[in-house]
């Protein structure tokens, strides 16, 4: 399969998963946020599918997906996923090394959100995924573990940060949706050439 086709498949699988898990993601967000993460991401996913770039250019596909999420998500996750995908778009023009792509995406999230490892955000999935990918050890089980580990963290960024200690014990919704992103990544075989 051509690289660009794997990328499209990746994004399509991600979008499908966001649709399926819409209610669950919003439930997670109800516990420590405003309860809209599933709806936000599903709205973004709809538009992403509708506007999926057909040019056959990987960078263009990422860029279009970025703009779709940016335009339609509405919550903090919009500019965050949007910035991450824009970084992937740029990086894909420079290298085929997937771990470099994800590193660029994680950096963009950290820059946009002024967040770092341990803040209990989507970054706490992006960073360890990137590391495992670089080591050649990324699996579905690991992704689930990274998501689950956000449970024990105390939120330092985003709406959940107001809850302080009370944010502990809940999975971060953005970490969960990022988990779906990387499951789809593996399923589509987008992690390798």
């Amino acid at each position: 399969m051509l690289m660009v086709d794997k990328i499209k498949k990746w994004l399509e699988l991600f979008a499908a998963q966001l649709h399926e898990k819409k209610t669950y993601l919003s439930e997670l967000d109800s516990a420590i946020g405003d309860g809209d993460h599933g709806n936000n991401m599903a709205r973004g996913a709809d538009f992403l599918l509708k506007s999926l770039d057909q040019s056959g250019d990987t960078s263009a596909v990422f860029k279009n997906a970025a703009m779709a999420l940016l335009s339609k998500v509405g919550g903090a996750s919009g500019p965050l996923y949007g910035s991450a995908l824009l970084a992937l778009s740029k990086k894909a023009g420079e290298t085929d090394d997937r771990s470099e792509w994800i590193a660029a995406g994680a950096e963009a999230i950290a820059h946009r959100g002024k967040s770092e490892a341990g803040d209990k955000t989507m970054l706490d999935v992006w960073l360890p995924v990137q590391k495992a990918l670089a080591d050649g050890t990324l699996t579905h089980e690991k992704i689930d573990a990274f998501v689950a580990e956000t449970k024990s963290l105390k939120a330092k960024k985003g709406r959940a940060s107001y809850l302080g200690d009370r944010s502990v014990g809940h999975i971060d919704p953005g970490a969960q949706s990022s988990g779906y992103l990387f499951h789809a990544f593996l399923e589509a075989g987008a992690d390798h050439a």
Partner: protein, 123 residues
Amino acid sequence: MPEIGILLVSHVREIGDGVLRLLKEVAGDVTIKAAAGTEDNGVGTSFDRINEAVTSFEEPRIWAFYDLGSAKMNLDLVSETTDKNLEIQDVSFVEGAYVAAAMLQANASEDSIHSELKPLKIK
């Protein structure tokens, strides 16, 4: 149900309604009311509207947030005449009310809420 309710006092009806909507997303179990605009929905605040809103709370305590200084004068007057326990919060209006609502919803301790509100004290 938290024993503290939130009152939003603004000069503009739409601001009061809008902030209430914003807060309700994160604080579905907190009683939040808005008293905003004059009685004919002009720009200003109404002693009567504020007084009625205060009276209508079932919670024993009310935290009031307001936008501009003249709203505070009406709030002060209400607080001097009501037998409700009205605590006027001199913090940034939208940001302060948001923090308080989110934390009340999470059953955070009063101390911890006050320490989050402290840096927002701008009035």
